[in-house]
């Protein structure tokens, strides 16, 4: 019998305020910048989880002495749809560079909104530079390979927030 994946329950990032504020950052940003609704589902802990999506933006979570990483995973068609709404013009499905740039910027805003709210309640999160990549090109994580997955849907399509805690 294998043990269920675990995260340290004392880790300060494994906190309902962190999860709620990151989720709210996504909701608020998508509504304001892209007139798009995100519907959140129940988070879960997973080990060796691999995203089924095509595009990911990762940012470092730093609040000395704690560290982690937050990853926003998007289906390519969702990412393109969000970008088209932000720009008010069509984006080619083949223009991966433009799609990555768009999700990089929107993820930067997701994080900025969450960071502001979390720092108001005592977290000391530092600003981080977003790295948009093809999901298959994601770097290996350090730590025990256990993460918190927060699924959300844009229309019928699943996207994910992944929190990796070092």
């Amino acid at each position: 019998m294998s043990a269920a994946p675990k995260l340290d329950p004392q880790h300060p990032f494994l906190n309902s305020s962190v999860i709620l504020n990151i989720s709210n950052g996504v909701t608020e940003t998508l509504q304001t910048m892209a007139q798009t609704e995100a519907h959140f589902e129940k988070p879960y802990v997973a080990k060796d989880w691999k995203t089924p999506t095509e595009i990911t933006v990762f940012l470092e979570l730093k609040s000395d002495p704690y560290q982690g990483q937050v990853r926003f995973h998007f289906d390519k068609s969702v990412a393109r749809g969000i970008l088209e709404k932000m720009l008010g013009s069509n984006v080619s499905d083949n223009d991966l560079a433009e799609i990555l740039d768009g999700v990089g910027e929107i993820s930067n805003i997701f994080f900025g909104v969450a960071k502001t709210k979390l720092n108001l309640i005592g977290f000391k999160l530092e600003m981080s530079v977003p790295h948009p990549v093809k999901s298959v090109d994601l770097p290996e994580t350090i730590g025990n390979k256990t993460c918190l997955v927060i699924p959300f849907k844009v229309g019928p399509t699943s996207c994910f927030i992944e929190m990796i805690l070092y």
Binding site: T32, L87, I106, N108, I109, L120, V129
Partner: protein, 142 residues
């Protein structure tokens, strides 16, 4: 509003945000817009534009950029007599009180917090215009 030929500089490391800001400027009737990919590049563009006789007249800059951050670009402009009165707007996801105060202290004209919509950005540009007009009237009266 400003003269439609007013020369704007939009500085952001993400082309998506530069396009969004340019689109809003276009809707407001401002077509004379140049771009920079980071703060260092923006400072080069500002200096080169002055040398070419077509100076930048309004800067809209992101805060969090590689090479030179928007706040450092703002400080560099305010420290240069040629650009001291250049209207400067920061568009940023940085919305903590300490950062807003830091920008105000550095002399920012307006501060737009991401996420924003086109109406917000338009209103902030108009507010900068009103401030510039008021400053010019004060100078005339003095």
């Amino acid at each position: 509003m400003f003269n439609p030929n007013t020369k704007f500089l939009v500085a952001d490391d993400f082309s998506t945000m530069r396009k969004i800001v340019k689109k809003v400027l276009d809707e407001l009737g401002y077509k004379n817009v140049v771009e920079a990919v980071d703060g260092k590049n923006a400072l080069e563009v500002i200096n080169e534009s002055l040398k070419s006789g077509q100076p930048i007249e309004f800067v809209i800059s992101d805060w969090n950029m590689p090479n030179m951050q928007g706040i450092d670009l703002l400080r560099a402009c305010k420290a240069d007599p040629n650009f001291k009165s250049l209207p400067f707007m920061l568009v940023t996801a940085e919305s903590e009180q300490a950062q807003i105060l830091e920008a105000a202290k550095a002399g920012v004209s307006e501060y737009v917090i991401k996420p924003f919509n086109a109406a917000t950005l338009k209103a902030k540009i108009e507010r900068v215009y009103a401030k510039v007009q008021a400053q010019q009237q004060q100078k005339k009266a003095a």
